[in-house]
């Protein structure tokens, strides 16, 4: 099995050749089967896929202090921002093994932000019943409540991670847990996931953990593909810190010691809805993806001596139209966050300043344009321009990079 985009690509290659490659680039979001073992796939019980993306950026959202903070929201996880200069955006190898009629195993080992290599997924799945497509999976997994949470830089139009997910989910949600999915009708998937809570915005242990439910519907008719989805997530945190920069030993910067000392106890509840639309005719194809996320944060922010009650009401949304002609694709992405915070307690202003919760005078948003050229199957060139206002001061930067993904085993899968 390959990455989601190319797994779909492979199924259709024999029928549509180049057009399918175009479709795959035009519809990265529609291709969502990351982590799902299809009963229709080829006979080989083992498949191995890989992907890599590397880019050079001429600027970055990361401040001189080395810290990235979207003004108005508590951050964490792996939302580190893309660095200036040459960086490895993402690299991963996925192994899928069908261990019998009903059991499957998946391993996904990857690296983000040129950081250390991580085990992104290590799961075992079992198909409980054929009639409803009832399936259970457990282990370390990427959450499936939104297809955007599954995306990699090498399989989407942009090398930068989605701002909504950086701000609200620490980049993307990967955790240890279990998932139950059912397909009561063709095209409809209903899922429930329960998580240990070791991933932002949740914490593990007492009073921690996370869970979500999702409903996805896919429909295809001729040149049209449609996917709709909605979901809700509940994350509970106890003694949560912004662990993105801890472990270093520089305290002379911009109050980074104080920021690292902050703790949050409370809940983050979020609900979202997304839609992905794709159309293809001849050498042309077009796609449109969008998602809206509503987040409610309620809890207590504190450091060693101070505390204040925090109530956050956040909205985030992104809209991504795309046009494709033969080997070329042009994609636009607009992302916006509207972040309302209210802190109660005399320490509120001080803690808000340290935590980066003060409003910057503008809502964080990001314009990005991506041009991709498919050099050969799986390998592409990407040029990007980004106007990023997810910082106190807007940043504009260009990026150029290469991406590749494909099947390593069996060859031609």
């Amino acid at each position: 099995m390959t990455t989601p985009v190319f797994s779909i690509l492979s199924k259709r290659r024999c029928r549509r050749g180049r057009l399918v490659a175009a479709m795959a680039l035009a519809l990265p979001a529609v291709a969502t089967a990351h982590g799902i073992v299809s009963s229709e796939r080829e006979d080989s019980p083992l498949s191995v896929g890989a992907g890599v993306s590397a880019s050079h950026r001429w600027d970055s959202v990361i401040a001189d202090s080395g810290r990235w903070q979207v003004p108005g929201v508590l951050m964490g996880g792996e939302a580190l921002g893309s660095e200036q200069g040459f960086t490895l955006d993402a690299a991963s190898v996925q192994l899928d093994w069908r261990a019998g009629e009903r059991t499957h195993v998946r391993l996904d080992i990857g690296s983000h932000h040129a950081g250390e290599i991580e085990l992104e997924e290590a799961l075992v799945g079992y198909r409980l019943a054929d009639s409803l497509g009832l399936q259970i999976e457990a282990g370390r997994m990427k959450a499936r409540f939104s297809t955007e949470n599954l995306s990699h830089a090498y399989a989407r139009p942009f090398s930068d991670n989605n701002l909504v997910y950086d701000a609200f989910y620490g980049g993307h949600v990967v955790d240890e847990g279990a998932r139950l999915m059912v397909t009561p009708w063709a095209g409809i998937t209903l899922g429930v996931e329960g998580w240990r809570g070791s991933q932002f915005p949740a914490t593990a242990g007492d009073d921690g953990g996370a869970r979500d439910v999702f409903l996805h519907w896919r429909w295809q008719d001729g040149a049209w593909q449609v996917e709709l989805g909605t979901w809700a997530q509940w994350a509970e945190a106890r003694d949560r810190s912004d662990s993105r920069y801890t472990g270093g030993h520089s305290h002379g910067g911009d109050s980074d010691t104080a920021a690292d000392a902050l703790r949050f106890d409370g809940d983050q509840d979020s609900q979202g809805a997304g839609a992905r639309l794709a159309w293809q005719r001849g050498d042309w194809s077009a796609g449109l993806a969008a998602e809206f996320v509503q987040v409610d944060v309620s809890g207590t922010l504190r450091d060693t001596t101070r505390q204040a009650a925090l109530s956050g009401d956040y909205r985030g949304w992104w809209l991504q139209p795309e046009l494709r002609w033969r080997r070329q694709a042009l994609t636009l992405r607009y992302t916006k966050l509207v972040l309302d915070n209210h802190l109660t307690g005399v320490a509120g202003p001080d803690l808000a300043a340290v935590a980066g919760l003060n409003h910057a005078g503008h809502d964080p948003d990001q314009w990005a344009v991506s041009y991709r050229y498919q050099l050969q199957d799986g390998l592409g060139l990407r040029l990007e321009w980004t106007r990023n206002r997810a910082t106190a001061e807007p940043v504009n930067y260009l990026a150029a990079g290469l991406y590749w993904s494909g099947a390593l085993w069996p060859a031609g899968n």
């Binding site: 108005g72 979901w231 809700a232 809890g299 809209l319 309302d340 109660t344 409003h359």
Partner: protein, 398 residues
Amino acid sequence: MRRCIRRHRRPWLNMVLAACGLLALAGCGGEGETTFDDQGATATAFDWRLPAGTPLPLEPLDNPMTEAKFQLGRHLFYDRRLSGNGTQACADCHLQAQGFSDGLVTPTGSTGEVHPRNAQPLLNVAYHATLTWANPSLLTLEQQILVPLFGETPVEQGINDDNLETVLTRLRDEPVYPPLFEAAFPGRGSVIDMAAVVKALASFVRGMVSFDSAFDRHERGDLQALDASARRGRALFFSEQLECFHCHGGYHLSDSTLDRTMSFIERPFHNTGLFNIGGRGDYPEDNQGLFEITGDPSDMGKFRAPTLRNIALTAPYMHDGSMADLAEVIEFYAAGGRQIAVGPEAGDGRQNPFKDSFVNGFELRQQDQEDLIAFLNSLTDFSFIADPRFSNPWEATP
């Protein structure tokens, strides 16, 4: 803290709402904002003259700050008649030109008794979580001021039961005081008693705030306020290599800090390895720090980390005034403690079993030491030591 967390919303309703929200993307604009409710905790009748963003100190409920009490306290602070024998004022050990310290190893009281501890500078005292060098029970200035006024071991200003009425009579006979007392404590007439004296003195000392050093201006965004050497020194000061900031960090440059924003109060004391008499961790008998109050052997030699503001003005250093200048202090910390080879205080302070874990020693080049001193010099607030608001009012009286 989780008790205040409200219950989760109904998921399906919110999922539908989110779907509707998607449909309304085009209209999803608006400006976010961050708002605050301090529940009235920042209310004060006193003009603290603090820079924006600086937290307010606490004010005792039974002695809220007023300008009238501050001005009365200022007169009393500089008045030698407020001592048993009429020879010593608070200001005799707390000189404005020297950052309200005295430049002596240890001060001498009104009757000639020598204090075992170095006179501490008075600035931002309102932000101390505890007062004096090593007394966890002195939490308010109203409590602490009784020590220099009435203390017997040693005698400082030397007021006692025998001379108290004489002292008050001196004050009542001074024509400047009745209107000042009446303004400070309206409704009491011009009653001059020791309770009012203490509250007024506490108000003056509490109001002596200083946040206009080059370091302060740098932290407020004026990056040119520190020269290159001081900036390098700042980086060293806040580094894990030197560990200074653990005990002298934050806006107060002390880990014993209290202000209105705080809910959890820390009152730490530290043994820095100045002594290790007999290898048992002992300090000289007349100066054993927190141990003198608690009797806990592990508190031997523990003292409160003073603020480093105006540190360049307040030599000599340490609780016993045993270090003449900042270079000596830095070398002491670089060595991880003090070794005394001979005499009754002989011992290797570096091996003191009660020494703070942050006093580990470090290596410093000559340039590093100069940079660190440049940074410490940047903590001087020259406007504070020249501010007529804190000066001797009697000298201005014709």
